[in-house]
C-alpha cells in the first residue's frame, strides 16, 4: 500500500519506527493520523519468519500434467559470432559448436511435453539455437510430428532467429504454419553491424536482415504482423540513433520491439562504464513516456525501447494485488518462476533447464533430462533460491517486488549468496524508481487503464 505522509510523520517514523510511545511529540493532527495507521495495521512488522516458496509442495503436481510449452534447442551452432552473445566465449556458458538435436531427441522432447500436458488446452513449442534456421528440416519434422501428437489441442510455434537464412521458401513455410517470429535486430546499420557479424568475418548482417524483411513484405505481407524484434542495447552505441531507427524506419516503425541490455549474468568480464549521453537520451524518452501516460503527448511519440518501463509501472505497481497488509509467515521473495513449468528448455543433448537464459554448462542448473524426467530436488532448491540470502531477504523492503531468480545467483561454479546479494541494490533501485514514477503519475492524474 502506498500512503502519502507529511514531513512530520516521515520524521517520526524515521526516528521511532512503528513505536507509538512518543506519539505525543506530534501535532494533534499528526498523532491522529499515526494512530489511524496503527489501527489499520499499517505499522505492523510484516517480515516473513520462514523463507519457503508456497509452490514447493505442489511442484510434482504442477509438472505432472500442467505443462503447456517447451523450447527446443535444435542446434548449438550459429552462422554469426555476435560480440555480446552468451555463447561467444565471453560468458561462463557453452560456446558455439556443431552439436545439433537429432530427430529422436526432438520427438522424445515433444512426447515428454505431451505426457506432462494433460490439463493444458494450448501448447506452444519454440525453436531456439544457436541459429535455429540452420536446422529447418528438423523444425519441419517437429512441426509435423507435434501436430499429430497434439491432435485436438491448439498448437502454436515460435522461432527466434537472426534472420540471415530467411529464404523465400522458409518465409512461406513459417507463414503457412503461423509461426511467431522473433528477429534479432539491434538498430541502424552502424549499430547493428558493430556486434552482429558473420563467422570469421568483420562484415555485419544488417543489409541481409533488412532485405529479408522486405522479402517477407513481398511474399506474405500479412505475416509481418507475426514478426517482432529483439534488440540488444550496447551502451557503446548511440541510444538516440537506435531509437530513431525503430521510430522512423519505414519497415520497422510500427513493429513490436523488445529491448534488453547486454546480459551481465555469467559474464567473465565486467561491462564497460555506461555512456552519459545515452543515459540522458534514454531518460528523455522515459520522460516522453511519462507525458504520454498523463495524456499530454500521443502514443506514437513513445519510444518502443522504453515501453516496457511504462508497462512495468502499470503491471508491477499500479496493478499489484493488495491481498493483505502483511506478508505470510512462510513465503518467498518475488522473482523465481517454477522451474520447468513456465519456460522449460531442452538442449540438443536432451537435458532440461528452467529456461534458455541459464548456463548449460553448470550442472546445478540442469533440472533433469528427457529419459529420467525432472529432478524434483533440484527444482525445489531453485524455487527456494531466496534461502541463500534468507536474512537479507527477510529484512528487505522490496521483498515482494524482487526480480531475482536462480540465474542471477550463478557465479559459474555454484549458486552463490554473494552473487545474488551483488544484484540487490540494482533491483531495489529499479523498484524504487518505479514506485517514484508511479507516485508522480498518480499525483498528476494518470489513470493507468489504457497504457501501452
Amino acid at each position: 500500500m502506498i500512503i502519502k505522509i507529511t514531513l512530520e510523520i516521515y520524521e517520526y517514523l524515521n526516528n521511532h519506527g512503528s513505536d507509538v510511545t512518543y506519539v505525543n511529540e506530534l501535532s494533534s493532527e499528526g498523532k491522529n493520523f499515526l494512530l489511524d495507521l496503527k489501527e489499520q495495521g499499517l505499522l505492523k512488522d510484516s517480515k516473513p519468519k520462514i523463507i519457503y516458496h508456497p509452490m514447493t509442495d505442489l511442484v510434482e503436481d504442477m509438472l505432472k500434467s500442467n505443462l503447456s510449452r517447451m523450447t527446443l534447442q535444435v542446434t548449438q551452432n550459429c552462422n554469426l559470432r555476435c560480440q555480446y552473445c552468451v555463447y561467444s566465449g565471453s560468458y561462463n556458458n557453452r560456446v558455439h559448436n556443431n552439436k545439433r538435436m537429432d530427430i529422436e531427441t526432438a520427438k522424445k522432447a515433444i512426447n515428454f511435453l505431451k505426457n506432462h500436458s494433460q490439463s493444458a488446452e494450448d501448447i506452444i513449442i519454440s525453436f531456439y539455437g544457436g541459429e535455429p534456421l540452420l536446422e529447418m528440416k528438423l523444425i519441419q519434422e517437429c512441426v509435423t510430428y507435434s501436430k499429430k501428437v497434439f491432435e485436438g489441442k491448439k498448437v502454436s510455434f515460435n522461432l527466434t532467429t537472426n534472420a540471415v537464412l530467411l529464404s523465400e521458401e522458409n518465409i512461406e513455410y513459417l507463414s503457412k504454419e503461423d509461426f511467431i517470429l522473433t528477429i534479432s535486430l539491434d538498430g541502424p546499420k552502424e549499430v547493428h553491424d558493430k556486434n552482429r557479424k558473420f563467422v570469421n568475418s568483420d562484415s555485419g548482417t544488417y543489409d541481409i536482415v533488412m532485405r529479408n524483411l522486405e522479402k517477407i513484405l513481398d511474399i506474405a505481407p500479412d505475416y509481418i504482423a507475426k514478426v517482432t524484434f529483439n534488440a540488444v542495447l550496447d551502451d557503446e552505441s548511440s541510444f538516440k540513433d537506435t531509437n530513431d531507427f525503430f521510430m522512423k524506419h519505414d519497415i520497422v516503425k510500427n513493429m513490436i520491439v523488445s529491448a534488453n541490455s547486454i546480459n551481465a549474468v555469467n559474464r567473465k568480464e565486467q561491462l564497460k562504464a555506461f555512456s552519459v549521453k545515452n543515459y540522458v537520451d534514454r531518460n528523455y524518452e522515459s520522460f516522453i513516456g511519462m507525458l504520454y501516460s498523463l495524456g499530454r503527448v500521443d502514443k506514437d511519440c513513445v519510444s518502443h525501447l522504453i515501453k516496457k518501463e511504462i508497462s512495468d509501472i502499470k503491471e508491477k505497481i499500479s496493478d499489484r494485488s493488495i491481498v493483505d497488509s502483511t506478508i505470510p509467515i512462510k513465503s518467498h521473495p518475488g522473482g523465481p518462476c517454477v522451474p520447468g513449468f513456465q519456460r522449460p528448455f531442452v538442449n540438443a543433448y536432451g537435458k532440461l533447464f528452467p529456461c534458455e537464459r541459464v548456463s548449460e554448462t553448470a550442472e546445478y542448473m540442469c533440472i533433469g533430462n528427457l529419459d529420467d524426467g525432472f529432478d524434483m530436488n533440484r527444482i525445489k532448491e531453485m524455487l527456494n533460491i531466496g534461502r541463500l540470502t534468507e536474512d537479507n531477504c527477510r529484512n528487505c523492503w522490496a521483498y515482494n517486488f524482487c526480480t531475482q531468480c536462480v540465474a542471477t545467483a550463478d557465479d559459474g561454479i555454484c549458486l552463490s549468496k554473494e552473487n545474488r546479494l551483488e544484484k540487490c541494490n540494482a533491483v531495489r533501485n529499479y523498484v524504487e524508481s518505479m514506485i517514484k514514477d508511479y507516485i508522480v503519475l498518480k499525483e498528476n492524474g494518470c489513470q493507468f487503464t489504457n497504457l501501452v
Binding site: P54, D57, L58, D61, M62, K64, S65, N66, S68, K114, N115, S117, Q118, S119, E121, D122, V149, F150, E151, G152, K153, K154, E315, D319, S321, P328, C337, Q342
Partner: protein, 354 residues
Amino acid sequence: MKKKCILFPCDMEVEPLVKYCDMMKYDVTSILSLESWNLSEEIFLDKTCKILDRDNLSFKGIDVLVIVESNSYLDFTAQIFPMIEKAAKDGVDVLIARDISSMEKELCQKCCEENNVSFTELEIKCDIDKLEKLSEDDKIYTPILLVAGTSVNTQKFDIQLALRKKFLEAGYKVSQIGSRKYCELLGFHSFPSFMNDSVREEDKIILFRKMVKLIEIEEKPEIIIIGTPGGILPINDKHHFDFGMTNFMVSNAICPDCVVMNLLYNTLYEEDDLQRFREMCKHRFNYEISLFHVSNTFIDPSSLNDWKVKYIKIDQKQNDINVKNVYNFMAEDQCDEAFNVIVEQLAGNDFGQL
C-alpha cells in the same frame, strides 16, 4: 436392459460423466479419446470400461455411439464425423449430446439414413410455453440444495453428481438441474439455455423460478439439487467472467435451504477467509453457505494478466485444512460425512409447514 454405448470424443471434461456412468441410461462399455489428451484409465475407478484407440476401433456389441461435449479443439468434419460414419456403417445408432451446426446435423442425418441406423439429438426438456403459464409468485416447497463455486473449474459438477448419488442411494426422490449442458444423459435437467439468451435479467430470474416450480409439480421430488455454472465473483478486472451474474440470477430465483460452496485449491484457508465468503454470499446472494469443498485446481498466478487465465490441476489432496465445515467431497468418507450434515440441516429446516 441398458443399451451399450461408446462415448466420443472424451477429454478431461468427460471425467465426472464416466465416474458416475452408473447413473446414465446407457451402459458405457468404453470411451474413445485422442492420444494427445492423455486420459488415464484411473478415471474409471472400479468400472469395467476402457479407453479405446481410434485406429483399432470395433463397434462389435455396441448399440449406440454417443457424441459428447469436449473442451478441446476438434474439427467436426475431420475428426468427429468419421467416427459417426464408421458407427453408422457398422449398424450402430448415433446420439448427439453436444452442440452441432445445422449443416453438421444434416450431414449426420444423411449418413445414418443411408445406413439404416437411428440418429437422435439428446432431448433437452424446457418447455417455455408451459413455464409461461405458471404464476410468478408460486412458492417452491421442496428443499433445495445449491452447489456453487468461487470460480470456474472447482469440481462443481462432480459434487452435484456425488450428492445425487448419495441422495438416491439413501432412497430420496431427487430432481436436479445441473451446471452443465446435456445433463439429460444422466437423467436430469441441464442448466437452461434461456439463462444465456439476450433477454432481460428479471425475465430470466422468473423463468428459472418457474422451471424449478414446474419440476416440483411434475416430478414431485423430495429434494432438488441445483448446480450453478461459473463463479460467484470475478478473479480480477481482466478475468471477470460474468461478474457472478448467473449466480446472482439463480439466487434471486430460488431460496436454497443448503449451499455447498466449492473453492479453488489452497492450503492456507483460515476461518477468517471462509467467513469473508459467507458474508459476501449473505449480502450478495442472500444465502448462507453450509459447507465448503476444496477443489483440486488453482490459478497460475503468473497468468493473471494474460489474455487467458491458466488453471493448474493437481491430484486430489486429503483435506488438511483444519477449519470447520470444509470437506473433500471426492473422498468417500468425507462425502458421507458431508452428506449427513446436509441431511441433518435440511431436516432441521423442516418445521412441518403445510
